[in-house]
Amino acid sequence: MKFIIDRFDGKKNYQQTYTVEKKDIEALTLLGTLLFIKQHLDLTLNFTASCRMAICGACGVRVNGHSYLACDTKMTELFEEYKDADTFRISPLSNYTVISDLAVDWEPAIENLRKVKPGLVAKDKFSEKEGCVQNQEEYDRIVGQWDCILCGVCASECNKLSADRSDYMEPFVYTHAWKVANDSRTKDPMIHVKPSVANGLWNCVHCHECTNRCPKHISAADDIAGLRALAMKKGLNSGVGPAHAKSFYTDLVEDSGRLNEIRLALRTEGVSTVLRAGTAVTLMSAGKMNPLEIFGGHEIEGHKDLVKMIEAAHAAHKE
């Protein structure tokens, strides 16, 4: 079978095809296969790897355009996923600058991680003498995010980073911000939330690629949503992103129970939405938008009960 590997020698990109016997690699992991190729076919092939046990996060690569942690991926899993394909394309993580072959530059991502202050800033009440303790429930809340090993798989898959990384950070950065912001020992969650908001928190496109591919089953998309909810709760709710999300909530709870698309634009952008008049005219001329909807839609059957249910949930949450 064939492995087409994307290579980069510091100056030019090229592809190199390696042919191996299936029997030699079918019992291996993806990392084992890369090592096999390096040891038996081409010593010049570069990639990064260390622990070989899904702890260090060094060996993220892409197979057929999707990211995997190489040491945590069995070749049999890939055969099953890609229906016994006899050719695989191996590429470096996407959304990183390639240094050599499958090795990428982590410095910009680590710089982003520093922005959200990922280390715990503990409450003043904790001391060296009495420790910095939390109960089981508080620990359980954040333990999933502690599993992040900085493998970069989520960032490699991120559609927003692929489109423009100048106003967004790697999904795992938001996960680390969520983790410390939601740690019961944290002095002030906003130490982590504010830089997240300032560095693209509302620009996530909801593609769920990060959630889908994380080898540790962490959902960065959910952590982004959690950080947003926390920001809103703490009053950090100005701007288009928060206004857009809030308009859905307002329609659900305070208005008819269903989204009103005409009000959505107005609520999201205010008067500046007139700049989208062209789109509105397109929609109206296509018969897709009823301008009379601006006065509100019909309340759904049982909406008052829905509101009571939500109020009960809020009351219980306060308790």
Partner: protein, 284 residues
């Protein structure tokens, strides 16, 4: 074949994607599918409301699921984001939240039991590809199609779970049953950017444009998507998106039910093809 469903249209089908509802209602009787719209369904939160209040969003979807249960039917939706929101809510309820959330639903004399599954039009069609094939009146053998799944049809795999999220085949199975030719299309699993069109407009237009250009490079006659939100984004904003990348390519974007309807021999008017912004009339 399960042919009767509690139908969850989702907000967009009653407004900007009205043609998705028209085409669905046109194909359903031909395929023997009975759709009973759920009385009193609410917005699912559209992958937005949870950013404001995750608990309220879960309660609203628990109520939506409970309404379908009262009908003793599985729930079907054509909107991929509704599908994801409802299935995630169901998974959350079934893995330990049911009791707590039911104390809130009780305020409206309702309770969630967990008896109704949530499925999508795409999945039902893929499961019944042979039936579709037998109903085709006008095989689309001259049509080259770029299939665009849309994020929430396949991701996250653990919540949707119908098929592989990196190598799905359901959509190709359906299009093949219609006799059409699926063209290689590198962006078939990408994101159109719909959910961030306001806060990240520049990036989103680039994403939308990339999809259209990739389909055009594949010589596709049309893009098709099972998600009405993706259709809306790539159709309504196509001119704007192409202006940002100075691309002249224009590709009609059909809803899944529209292309099925064409193969079933249903007139273009009944499928709402004239509601599509990028001219799709030549396909009818």
């Amino acid at each position: 074949m399960q042919n009767e469903f509690a139908f969850f249209p989702g907000c967009v089908l009653t407004q900007a994607a009205i043609e998705a509802k028209m085409s669905l209602e046109a194909i359903a009787p031909v395929l023997g599918i009975k759709l009973k719209e759920i009385n009193g369904w609410s917005c699912c939160g559209a992958s937005q409301a949870q950013d404001v209040d995750p608990l309220a969003t879960l309660v609203a979807n628990a109520r939506n699921l409970a309404l379908a249960e009262k009908m003793n039917l599985p729930m079907l939706t054509t909107c991929s984001t509704c599908l994801l929101m409802l299935r995630r809510a169901k998974a959350q309820l079934d893995s330990g939240e049911k009791e707590r959330i039911n104390t809130f639903l009780a305020k409206g004399n309702m309770s969630y039991k967990g008896t109704s599954e949530v499925t999508s039009l795409l999945w039902v069609l893929a499961q019944n590809a042979e039936l579709i094939k037998s109903k085709v009146q006008k095989p689309l053998s001259n049509l080259k199609v770029a299939v665009f799944y849309g994020c929430h049809s396949v991701r996250p795999g653990k919540d949707l779970g119908f098929e592989s999220s990196v190598n799905p085949t359901s959509f190709e199975t359906v299009i093949a049953a219609l006799g059409a030719q699926v063209v290689p299309f590198t962006k078939r699993l990408d994101c159109c950017g719909f959910h961030a069109v306001y806060p990240a407009e520049k990036s989103v237009m680039k994403m939308t444009s990339g999809i259209v250009n990739s389909a055009a490079e594949s010589k596709a006659d049309c893009l098709v998507t099972p998600c009405p939100l993706c259709q809306m984004q790539i159709d309504i904003y196509q001119d704007d998106a192409q202006a940002t990348t100075k691309s002249k390519a224009r590709v009609p974007v059909l809803h899944l039910a529209q292309i099925v309807g064409l193969a079933l021999g249903i007139p273009a008017k009944k499928l709402g093809l004239d509601y599509n912004v990028i001219d799709a009339s030549k396909l009818g």
